[in-house]
């Protein structure tokens, strides 16, 4: 990468190897013709992809994962964007406090949140696993909906909307013609980030699962524990391919660094 910093360059190469090489091994073993997870893979075949896509637990949990990720994203944005508006444009005392309150799900370990929801909503109130999973994922995504969409509003001036109102626009018209276009890139980033976060989530989905309601990552964890065949490598490769597609879309539209830089800052 850079020969003027030999030490830094060596460390950097080591870092990239640790990050990327394991992923390549997953892909390589997915195309094996053999019966077990071994390296080097025996022969070349796509049969494990066929097996994975006709294995009912994977297909069923994939559907659950997609449903939860999609609905939680929509719900988190539906309730989160109004919160952003209230924080940045409303008559609200203690804005900082309210914003921190909505960011608080980020600081409590997800496993602890999962345990809390399991105990309190599923065991105590006997609510079904599926709605609790949806509520939990939505709460988990709220910080993204509030913070990422808020960044756009914080950087813009409320006087634009006031000017529109002063020129006779109704509140709704001012919102749709001035505020909404400002929010749109933030909403897109938040939606993307939320969907991926929910789809990949393990801690909440692990503790809130039932035999009927299981998400794909949890099913994969279970499967690896009982069987050592390349089916998980195949389903992993499919997830990898789908993630690359989403990543390319993200990079082409808002830019990677922007999406992921926003949440920790």
């Amino acid at each position: 990468m850079n020969t003027r910093h030999p030490v830094a360059a060596t460390l950097a190469v080591a870092g990239y190897i640790v990050m990327i090489v394991p992923i390549l091994f997953v892909v390589a073993t997915a195309f094996t013709d053999g019966e077990t997870l071994s390296f080097p893979p025996r022969g070349f075949s796509v049969r494990w992809f066929g097996e994975a896509l006709s294995y009912q637990p994977f297909v069923g949990s994939l559907v659950t994962s997609l449903e939860i990720a999609l609905l939680a994203t929509v719900l988190a944005l539906a309730v989160g964007v109004p919160v952003t508006l209230a924080i940045h444009r409303g008559a609200l005392p203690g804005k900082g406090l309210v914003e921190n309150l909505f960011l608080s799900p980020l600081i409590v370990p997800e496993l602890v949140v999962g345990l809390a929801l399991f105990q309190q909503l599923i065991v105590t109130f006997r609510i079904d696993n599926w709605p609790v999973l949806l509520i939990g994922h939505t709460a988990l995504l709220l910080p993204y909906a509030v913070r990422v969409t808020g960044a756009a509003l914080a950087g813009s001036d409320a006087s634009l909307e006031e000017a529109a109102r002063g020129l006779g626009a109704s509140p709704m018209r001012a919102f749709w013609t001035i505020t909404m276009p400002l929010l749109r890139p933030g909403i897109f980033s938040a939606a993307l980030l939320s969907f991926i976060t929910s789809f990949n989530n393990v801690p909440l989905s692990l503790l809130l699962q039932s035999r009927k309601t299981q998400t794909l990552p949890v099913t994969m964890l279970d499967y690896v524990q009982q069987s050592y065949d390349p089916m998980v490598a195949a389903i992993s490769t499919i997830i990898l391919a789908a993630t690359i597609v989403i990543a390319v879309i993200a990079e082409r539209t808002v830019g990677f660094a922007k999406i992921f830089g926003g949440i920790n800052g």
């Binding site: 394991p22 109004p82 990552p217």
Partner: protein, 274 residues
């Protein structure tokens, strides 16, 4: 938009989700697990903190998290620095490669290590084929496997956090120091490193908190011999159905994360004023 009633209406649905989906259950868990008195949790917490089995789990969790944090900063900062300063036409691709793993499922990423470290895995095969060892060494289900797996998971987080810190350091300062005769090493030590220190502290905190609470890696790569707080919490809550044990473990985990975040924000504030 300016009236209090409208503001309240905007806040209400979000607040409801936050309360039902997070705040109320989280607080209730600490004080009232199903059919359990609050005192039971704290009695259990006291027992755990003197139980050698549980202390070993806490010790292992903290030690591995510390090692992973050090490695992630040691590898992540140079990557962030080179990415921020390079003029190579590959910089975009390299940055994307460093961020992309954040989007990819933890399970998928961790799974690769099973193929590399497993008994039929790449490293064992390589060593036996070369005749260096008669039998593949046990690599999977060891602390080493957990460290490798967690480093892979959290390195992108360290890189992106350090990257935003380094990009805020004016490259003109590097040039000025170099122009005044400082060596590359000295410029790095005296200019770049101190100015990016707050970012490094944030990166270390995020990696440490993530490692202390990580479940997927110890579950897949640690096996039953290398229990950590997260895997133990799952055992209490879903295998042995031991509510006081689960709540007490959750309290320990949460306190650890809060203490580390608190200390790091203090350090960060001191660094900013110094």
């Amino acid at each position: 938009m300016r009236s209090r009633a409208t503001t309240a209406l905007l806040l209400l649905p979000g607040l409801a989700f936050l309360l039902i989906g997070f705040l109320v259950p989280a607080l209730a868990m600490l004080f009232a697990p199903p059919g359990t008195a609050t005192s039971e949790i704290f009695v259990r917490l006291g027992e755990m903190l003197v139980d050698p089995f549980f202390l070993a789990i806490i010790g292992r969790t903290l030690l591995l998290a510390l090692i992973v944090t050090l490695i992630c900063v040691l590898l992540g900062f140079p990557i962030a620095y080179l990415l921020a300063r390079t003029t190579s036409r590959w910089s975009g691709v390299l940055l994307a490669l460093a961020i992309f793993p954040l989007m990819l499922s933890n399970v998928v990423r961790t799974f690769g290590w099973l193929v590399i470290l497993g008994s039929n895995g790449a490293i064992g095969k390589l060593l036996t084929t070369l005749g260096l060892v008669d039998q593949a060494p046990q690599l999977l289900y060891t602390p080493l496997a957990i460290v490798l797996g967690m480093t892979q998971l959290f390195l992108p987080l360290a890189i992106i956090t350090c990257y935003s810190a380094v990009t805020q350091v004016n490259p003109g300062l590097d040039d000025a120091a170099r122009g005044l005769g400082a060596s590359r090493g000295r410029t790095f030590r005296d200019i770049v490193l101190p100015l990016s220190l707050p970012g490094i502290v944030v990166a270390a905190t995020l990696v440490f908190a993530g490692s202390v609470t990580a479940y997927t890696t110890p579950y897949l790569l640690g096996g039953s011999g290398n229990r950590m707080l997260a895997t133990q919490l799952f055992t209490y809550s879903s295998v042995t159905i031991d509510w006081p044990g689960a709540s007490a473990t959750a309290i320990i985990m949460t306190v650890l994360v809060f203490v580390v975040s608190g200390v790091s924000s203090l350090v960060g504030r001191k660094g900013a004023t110094a």
